[in-house]
Subunit: 575 residues, 2 copies
Amino acid sequence: MVEFAVWAPEHRAVDVVVDGRSWPLERDAAGGWWRRNVLGAGPGSRYGYSVDDGPVRPDPRSPWQPDGVEGLSATLDHSSFAWSDGAWRGGHWPSTVLYELHIGTFTPEGTFDAAIGHLGHLVALGVTAVEVLPVAEASGERGWGYDGVDLWAPHHAYGGPDGFKRFVDAAHGCGLAVVLDVVYNHLGPAGNYLSEFGPYFTDRYSTPWGSAINVDGAGSDGVRGFIIDNACMWFAHYHVDGLRLDAVHAIIDQSALHILEEMEGAVEALSIQMGRPLWLIAESDRNDPSLVASPEAGGFGLTATWSDDFHHALHAALTGERSGYYEDFGHLSQVARALQRVYVYGRDFSPHRGRHHGRPAGALPRRRFLGYMQNHDQIGNRAVGERSAALLPTARLKVAAALVLTAPFVPMLFQGEEWGASTPWQYFTNHSDPELGSAVSEGRRREFAAFGWAPEDVPDPQDPRTRERSVLRWDEVDEEPHRSVLAWHQQLLMLRRAVPGLATDRPEDTEARANDVEEWLQVRRGGLLISANLSRRRRRLEIAGATHLVAASSPDVSVGDTWLELPPDSVALTV
Amino acid sequence: MVEFAVWAPEHRAVDVVVDGRSWPLERDAAGGWWRRNVLGAGPGSRYGYSVDDGPVRPDPRSPWQPDGVEGLSATLDHSSFAWSDGAWRGGHWPSTVLYELHIGTFTPEGTFDAAIGHLGHLVALGVTAVEVLPVAEASGERGWGYDGVDLWAPHHAYGGPDGFKRFVDAAHGCGLAVVLDVVYNHLGPAGNYLSEFGPYFTDRYSTPWGSAINVDGAGSDGVRGFIIDNACMWFAHYHVDGLRLDAVHAIIDQSALHILEEMEGAVEALSIQMGRPLWLIAESDRNDPSLVASPEAGGFGLTATWSDDFHHALHAALTGERSGYYEDFGHLSQVARALQRVYVYGRDFSPHRGRHHGRPAGALPRRRFLGYMQNHDQIGNRAVGERSAALLPTARLKVAAALVLTAPFVPMLFQGEEWGASTPWQYFTNHSDPELGSAVSEGRRREFAAFGWAPEDVPDPQDPRTRERSVLRWDEVDEEPHRSVLAWHQQLLMLRRAVPGLATDRPEDTEARANDVEEWLQVRRGGLLISANLSRRRRRLEIAGATHLVAASSPDVSVGDTWLELPPDSVALTV
């Protein structure tokens, strides 16, 4: 027997169709829920709901979509999985090193099970947590995952619910925490039937990617419940350690209790119940420290927030790129500023935005912010998805790695970054609706035509080869320069664990200064000094008080009694 | 010589036309401002701006519009007014009693100068501050004021800038503080040329009354400056003591620093400079205490917020009305709840809104919230603008007055409420554009047709008689029952000053309980006990510890050694 239940507050009749047979549901006294126990149904029964005699649709909370977004839902008994992670006590946030991982391109197979095979590599690298790009069922057999529509169902192409559980279980077995990327600001364009069930969407606000979610209008209690229950579900049923909340600036909540604040409260309660830390990590482009400020200070109390300013400053300074949002960046002193104050734009005028932006991060511990040189968006939203390794000489890439992995922020790598992977990470989709498919392909071409790209040079998202090109080539790891890039990352992460100066994230423990003309930068972290030369000339820098060389990206570094000489594009760590 | 300056960031040329002659302005190096000194121009010069050779428009920051919203602006020398309020040191917020006043209907003349003649009445009543409905220049010769478009110019029909200064000066002379109602969430539909000058508006959000103001998009720095400078202008040039910010829930600001928080910072700095308190009072329907929570607690730190729940609870309980938002109210126990916790809906399910609403006010001092039985909106937004005096027997009206004026909130009266004025306060406009005028008239009829009103019974906003009907009849003050209602208000306000129990606004000092079936309510405030009987029967209530009668709304009250007997619709205060 299975209890079927669905929220459909504004309808007069709801039927569940189970294994081909239809049953009317009964309306709860309040709250807009409909329920029924169906004898004979069991794990794996295929079902859907029909609202007001309409077409049969997947369950909005479907735990499993074996045949994709247009297929029927399948029931699932979460208690049947044989977990082996009983000894797992959760990750330790302050010492976390994140690794962004996309199941569909991490391995050629593109499955949870195949990914398990490379977890040992991550442990050897020094990573402590993987951040998995969205796994929720989305249209087609391949995609980034940000157009999910069955938010409760791990994608069938990746291996479905059991596959994801095996992955999390294996990660915990290796001592790796798992953060899952979840999208609560919009739903994908294909297979999205939620609006047939309830007031999930609103036209009072809009997002760049689709209808805005109704979290503050009439009927929003049930929508908020849908989202917060979903967050808790991943923790409880899939044992994940954290959620990465996609683009929270596009979740517009004008009520007195922001849904993220409510979610943090619910997750905190669950954390106490589960007896281990559960993390909420927000992606936001608002430069708003209140996301991670404590509730006592009026903040939402989230674990951490993505923070693009450090990325943008580093990328623009190292690549020389100035188009789009990089027009706000380009000075090495902005990298120093980000290291010192988190936000380059902490209530400063942003030319790109045409207004003052952000507010100061103040004295918030720097573990509340993520630091990265690359991520899936910054790579994949480029016309041809080039990684930094394709844009920068290896020597310069190593400087970037050192600045990220010695920074006071929680560092994050994107899959393959650790060896300067030669593969791009391009935008790919697999919409079965031909109209939608060609709209996406055409939209992509048009977007980059504005930046001067010829249509034929922009990879077609719908072409299977676009995903194939984006798959990591694990066989290249042992080749140069990949081998030395990997060794450098390993060395830096080892130092991050070993050197006391790198362990602190108090703002006052980091001092950064840069010279935009001479193109050098120095960061003092406790007793450790990181010195980088990004000019085309050999530079001599003062290193008073830290003259013992710990690591250098180049063998051609000389150290004197109070100085260090760095060749072009090199970095050295001294204590 | 006068310096003309205007913000027009996206244009290539701006001319100022002064007394019929045109001069090109020069663009500042940054910020989008254009300036020029014009010799020969002086106070009272008529001028306007032409942007990119377009039509001549009033100055967005026009200080004076002698001929209304479509006329030219006039220059003004604020330093020429002879203020006599040098000894004024500002109002004392915790002991404030507010009086909402609409210049156009407070007297038959409808001017600042005529209003001055009745300030003595307010002092005698026990009011300490007037809250003046918006005075900014708006379309036509009469109106409520919420469709202002020249936000820097006191309305010509009320007496213009000098008239308003005389009014503030006279109020200060009587010891009355002045709060001005200002509208920063939208502009009126007629005479609104701001969008020709800059990105003042946005279509990313909407308001029920017109385009939303762009306070967080590209170019919003200048728009925020416009608003914050405007706020500071009223304090600095018109000596007002506070601003009442209209419907702040319709100012959507998704940036990291909400404009209200920025405004509070600017006004606080000005307050230190001016050496006296300056108040910001927000109208919000969001039941969000963070507006008035301290900055240390992550709040905006505003002086106070309107709070409708107490009003709605009192109105619904006393009138029996249940339509519209009153469907959420109707129990006397909700009045007790509001007195105890401020919000009836402090994260509770609101049937009218179809969702949970608000968040608890917690331990915030109750002076952060306004309490009222009536206000311009609650009266004027009714089809025929009836006051509570037209809806309730006088005995019941007196109970309401006692509950408001002994509450822990800062009390507010609407003009004429103190004598139970017989005049309605109806919705009236005076748009000169006939199309707009009939749209407004028609819209009003349609709005109330939905509530069953016949078109001919809904007063026509454009008809001059609608405003005339709404003018206070000062000659009725000496007639019964007005005289006794006035005496009762005077007595209550005297007690509010004299009785220690009424001076405290700490949440723990107020205990309120009510019986919905027996229809009585008791409020203990320090040593004072307020007992109200709203049933149709004589009721005996326990008054242990407070058996000395201080005041009663009826002579027919009996007091025993531990009890009080109240006739129907009566209230008594005991200590």
